[in-house]
């Protein structure tokens, strides 16, 4: 893969305090981190904030990245766990867990900035999942992690992930049943 060695070098240079190297790592992975944050929050502004927080957290912990997993997997773990913590903080602070995502989306205009109706409906459905089920779907569907990898990311048993994915699928099928679907 173009850049695996290059990435190791960028990490080494970042560890020695080179901000340009870390900026290059951020640039390389920002799409993935922003996407995970957005799927988890349903809000453009909050996902920006979370993505930035994730990269700051990653930098602080960069010394502990041993290369046992891919750097992107390690980053994904940071952003998904930050999203879970953020969600808990938000729901405690505002007490509007259920309606929050819809409000956040309306701040971005009537279509929430989505390119089409299907994309908007899917995000609304994701927002209606319990947050741990949503995390399981984001990791297994959008980040293509196996149930075992997702379990390591979220620090729980593989069976728990399987259960959450199962429960999330049932709910998503109900919420999205009127959308046109086709055999892949």
């Amino acid at each position: 893969m173009a850049g695996a060695d290059d990435e190791s070098k960028l990490i080494e240079r970042s560890l020695s305090g080179d901000p340009e190297a870390y900026a290059a790592l951020v640039n390389r992975h920002q799409h993935m981190v922003r996407a995970v944050a957005f799927r988890m929050t349903g809000s453009f502004d909050d996902s920006e904030e979370l993505a930035q927080e994730a990269f700051v957290r990653a930098y602080k912990q960069l010394g502990s990245f041993g290369g046992a997993s891919k750097f992107s997997t390690w980053l994904c773990k940071i952003v998904i766990n930050l999203s879970l913590d953020w969600r808990r903080r938000e729901s405690r602070r505002a007490g509007i867990h259920a309606s929050w995502a819809v409000e956040a989306m309306s701040e971005q205009g009537p279509d929430g900035g989505f390119p089409d109706e299907l994309s908007r409906r899917v995000q609304v459905a994701l927002d209606r999942l319990p947050v741990k089920q949503r995390a399981a779907i984001v990791l297994t569907i959008y980040e293509n992690q196996s149930h075992a990898e997702a379990a390591r990311t979220l620090g729980c048993a593989e069976a728990t992930i399987s259960w959450r994915v199962f429960a999330a699928r049932q709910k998503l099928k109900r919420l999205l049943k009127d959308l046109p679907h086709e055999q892949p």
């Binding site: 700051v56 729980c156 069976a159 429960a167």
Partner: protein
């Protein structure tokens, strides 16, 4: 809609477009945030950090020992809380698989659902049982009469007509009302969770 169709639908969903300017500026914003919050040497070791880390580790070890000691004593006296003690959660799980849940088992591996192939599990009294061997605990929720594999043996929990519960395994028999326990070193707690809400 089957799982493949759902997955395809989810993957067709695109995200709102991020303005190019935001993408370009983002790495700079992160670096600016770092300069405000973190010295730009993330892995630089320092004596102070090492001492703080060692002190923290020692405090954690002491706390873990104290909690372990306290928990060990408490285990003998009361039933510690666990996920399956939540009747609401259990009923939600049961409602998702009507007449198919033989048991929900919680042990060191996590929570596992034991399902029947068909919808043929009779909704007799719903029972909660917790087995502890001094080091490990397993708990499960099941319907009266189901035989399930837990704590390394086949276990059956039965409700009698008077609200009592009998738990039998390969190596023990226990009764809530008779105070009978014939077997090895297990500590057993059981209670009725009421009729299954299907």
């Amino acid at each position: 809609m089957n799982n493949l169709e759902l997955e395809s639908l989810l993957k067709r969903a695109r995200l709102p477009e991020v303005p190019g300017e935001s993408l370009e500026m983002f790495p700079r914003r992160v670096i600016a945030g770092l300069k405000r919050n973190v010295p730009l040497h993330p892995a630089a070791p320092s004596r102070f950090r090492f001492l703080a880390w060692a002190g923290g580790l020692a405090a954690c070890l002491l706390m873990a020992l104290a909690i372990g000691h306290w928990h060990g004593r408490r285990e003998k006296e009361t039933m510690p809380p666990d996920i399956l003690a939540s009747a609401k959660l259990v009923h939600e799980m049961l409602a998702m698989f009507p007449n198919r849940v033989r048991a929900i088992v919680e042990d060191a591996q996590g929570v596992n659902l034991v399902l029947s192939q068909d919808e043929n599990v009779p909704p007799y009294a719903l029972l909660y049982v917790r087995l502890c061997d001094g080091q490990h605990c397993s708990s499960f929720v099941t319907f009266s009469g189901q035989e399930i594999q837990v704590a390394g043996q086949k276990v059956t929990a039965l409700a009698d007509g008077q609200g009592g519960i009998i738990v039998t395994g390969n190596q023990f028999v226990w009764s809530s009302t008779e105070g009978i326990y014939a077997g090895n070193h297990l500590t057993i707690h059981a209670k009725t969770l009421g009729p299954a809400a299907m």
